[in-house]
């Protein structure tokens, strides 16, 4: 049995997906990126294989993607996270046809437009700074002394009108949050405000390239229900969130690995 692996080495976490010959997801794993990308990625890969009882020899082809893809040395090839994300999301979105992907990563923000066949027709991302990305949410959580995965629940529990966070710059927003807290602002109100400020930024970016149904939202922040709600409100449409939003890009890389492997085999046979 041949297996295929996609390794997405992101700025915050490493995501690994393993698929079989018929593109079924067999195993997935998420681990922190830390400072030593190659070592941590290798360890995470080994750990996943071990726990799933997959022998490293059975992994026929590995594709690395993500911001740290070049730092992972054991891949057969690398591909940009935009292509991998598009492939993974288009496939996971079935039976619906995904036409827009919104991905919020650790330190970037992407909107990818797909055509009917799933090919990338346009894409845009934030430039330079980490405003409105996962980092922004981490900073918020730290200021509010809570875990990142509690943000969504806290937003959900607060039913009122969100606070307004004017700055999109992470540094200025931090001082705004601190002053709101100092005035005794409700945590849920502030978190909801942060979610809406990020969502507005995403919506602005998305409008630039045009939004088409179905909209697929992935990346770690898609696990946050408050973020999902804010994004639906700002885009004024329903969005689809996959079961494991963090590993769609890794899954896409694994699909690309399988395709690369089989086309290579075909070439060998032909020769």
């Amino acid at each position: 049995m041949n297996y295929f692996a996609g390794i997405d080495v992101g700025s915050t976490s490493i995501k690994i997906a393993i698929t079989d010959e018929v593109n079924q997801l067999i195993a997935a794993h998420t681990a922190p990126s830390g400072s030593f990308f190659h070592k941590n990625a290798r360890d995470a890969f080994r750990f996943l294989c071990q726990t799933k009882g997959i022998s490293a020899d059975d992994i026929a082809y590995v594709v690395a993607t993500g911001y740290g893809r070049k730092l992972y040395k054991n891949a057969h090839e690398t591909i940009s996270e935009i292509t991998a994300n598009a492939v993974g999301a288009y496939r996971l979105g079935k039976p619906a046809t995904v036409r827009t992907i919104i991905n919020i990563g650790g330190q970037d923000l992407k909107v990818i437009a797909l055509d009917e066949e799933g090919h990338i027709s346009n894409f845009t991302m934030n430039d330079k700074c980490a405003a409105g990305t996962g980092r922004f949410l981490e900073m918020t959580a730290r200021n509010l002394e809570m875990a990142v995965d509690e943000l969504g629940t806290c937003h959900g529990a607060y039913g009122g009108i969100p606070a307004t966070i004017n700055s999109t710059c992470t540094v200025f927003a931090e001082s705004e949050i601190i002053s709101l807290l100092a005035r005794g602002g409700d945590r849920g109100e502030i978190i909801a405000g942060i979610h809406y400020s990020i969502a507005r930024r995403v919506a602005r970016l998305a409008k630039r390239i045009g939004i088409k149904d179905t909209v697929f939202f992935d990346g770690g922040p898609a696990l946050n229900q408050g973020m999902v709600k804010a994004l639906e409100d700002e885009l004024m449409m329903a969005i689809t969130v996959p079961e494991n939003p963090q590993t769609t890009t890794a899954y896409g890389a694994a699909l690309i690995a399988a395709e690369a492997y089989f086309s290579r085999e075909k070439e060998t046979h032909a020769a």
Binding site: P162, S167, G193, Y196
Partner: protein, 425 residues
């Protein structure tokens, strides 16, 4: 747009408006904890309109007006109620940005955006939208608004008030407007009805002028932001309720004056605000000025002082005398920079600087508002000659330039404070 899409859009607009208004009131209650009690009426009224979708109270037809130049007396006399549509929210500004140029006036963009986004509710309620042909953007927006399905009437206005020709032209235009109004409401404008309408607005004007005069006193008793809230309430409120609320505010201010209760520091630098109109909830610049320690004691803005300062003066209770009197009240004292020449505005500003003991002038121009942008030079030169410092700010409804503006406003106020100190020594 699908029904679901429309619903989602409405929900998001409501949410954004809620956030804007909430932020607004959080800021003003923080900035001045000792506001007059009577301000609560205006706070609650605007909150209801913006956050609770409160429908206009009247059961009579509503006539939307897009400028201060529409003679409201005629609307009341025709059995309808005026409803000033000029909008100041960045939420609706964004709605308007979908079909208006990026460099157009945010007030016009927000107003058009609101009429577009709120089509379902407002289209049924508004019997007509009246657009005086003042600035180009309002005129062209009128065509857009008509294409959305609203009944639009252009109230033709001359581009000067200095000639006999313009006066006659305007009177004819007002005359035609009365005929149009009677057609819309099906009610005849009689001398008795017109007299009543003039009295109604006259009463509101008296209360407003009393407030204006109270603010001339040496002690700052009301913040400029609160004064703008009062006048912005007039845009949409039932006129009798509004007049009563202003009278209550005046009485409270008289009491406070006796006790010597001031808003902020009693020696705070005093400012005159002029230029593009602050419209709720965008009081960005007035708020910055007052947060930085200044106090706006008066303004020359079409969203405030120009609303009600002047009164209709007629001799005979007959239409042939009352109608020209109403027309004159709207054209002769007009200081809108759409008019050329606009010497009235210069005179008015100098008169206000003197009677309100003003230390400096804040001149706001919305980016894209060409008449105010153009006239800035002339006003600046005039004030420089009189040695009155002026801060010229070009901005819009977004909050992105707040950091930079705060620094500019603070530096301006500091320079005036140090000048005042030097004078004392």
């Amino acid at each position: 747009m699908s029904a679901d899409g429309m619903q989602r859009k409405q929900n998001t607009i409501r949410l954004h408006l809620g956030m804007e208004v909430k932020e607004f009131f959080r800021k003003i209650t923080e900035a001045s904890p000792d506001r007059p009690k009577a301000m609560e009426y205006f706070d609650n009224f605007l909150r209801r309109i913006y956050c609770d979708d409160a429908a206009p109270a009247s059961t009579r037809p509503l006539i939307g007006t897009m400028c201060v130049q529409v003679p409201d007396e005629l609307i009341y006399a025709a059995g309808a109620v005026p409803y000033r549509l000029c909008n100041g929210s960045s939420t609706y500004d964004l709605c308007g940005a979908e079909f208006m140029p990026a460099k157009s006036c945010p007030v016009v963009r927000a107003t058009t955006g609101m009429l577009h986004a709120a089509q379902i509710n407002l289209k049924e309620q508004l019997a007509a939208v009246i657009i005086p042909t003042t600035c180009d953007q309002k005129k062209k927006a009128g065509e857009l608004i008509a294409s959305m399905g609203y009944k639009v009437h252009f109230l033709e206005m001359p581009s000067t008030c200095a000639t006999e020709l313009s006066r006659n032209y305007w009177q004819d235009s007002v005359q035609e407007f009365t005929l149009e109004l009677q057609k819309i409401t099906g009610q005849k404008i009689t001398p008795a009805r017109l007299k009543k309408a003039i009295q109604k607005i006259g009463a509101a004007g008296r209360a407003f002028r009393q407030l204006y005069n109270l603010r001339q006193g040496p002690l700052p008793i009301l913040s400029g932001v609160d004064a703008f809230l009062v006048s912005n309430g007039y845009f949409l409120d039932d006129i009798d309720n509004w007049t009563a609320a202003v009278e209550a505010l005046n009485n409270e201010l008289i009491e406070r004056q006796k006790k010597g209760t001031t808003v902020g520091n009693k020696n705070a630098p005093r400012f005159l605000f002029t230029g593009s109109p602050p419209i709720f909830p965008n009081f960005k610049i007035p708020m910055l000025v007052e947060e930085a320690g200044g106090v706006i004691v008066t303004d020359e803005a079409c969203s405030s002082t120009r609303l009600l300062y002047d009164a209709v003066a007629y001799d005979e209770e007959a239409l042939y005398d009352m109608l020209p009197a109403i027309a004159d009240r709207y054209l002769k004292p007009c200081t809108c920079p759409c008019l050329t020449p606009n010497e009235n505005r210069k005179r008015k500003l100098l008169e206000m600087i003197d009677s309100f003991s003003v230390d400096g002038v804040i001149y706001q121009a919305y980016s894209g508002c060409h008449p105010y942008e153009m006239e800035q030079m002339a006003i600046n030169d005039m004030l420089a000659e009189k040695k009155v410092p002026m801060l010229y700010v070009e901005t819009d409804f977004s909050k992105e330039d707040m950091g930079q503006l705060t620094t500019r406003v603070e530096a301006f106020i500091e320079s005036i404070q140090s000048r005042k100190r030097r004078k004392k020594i």
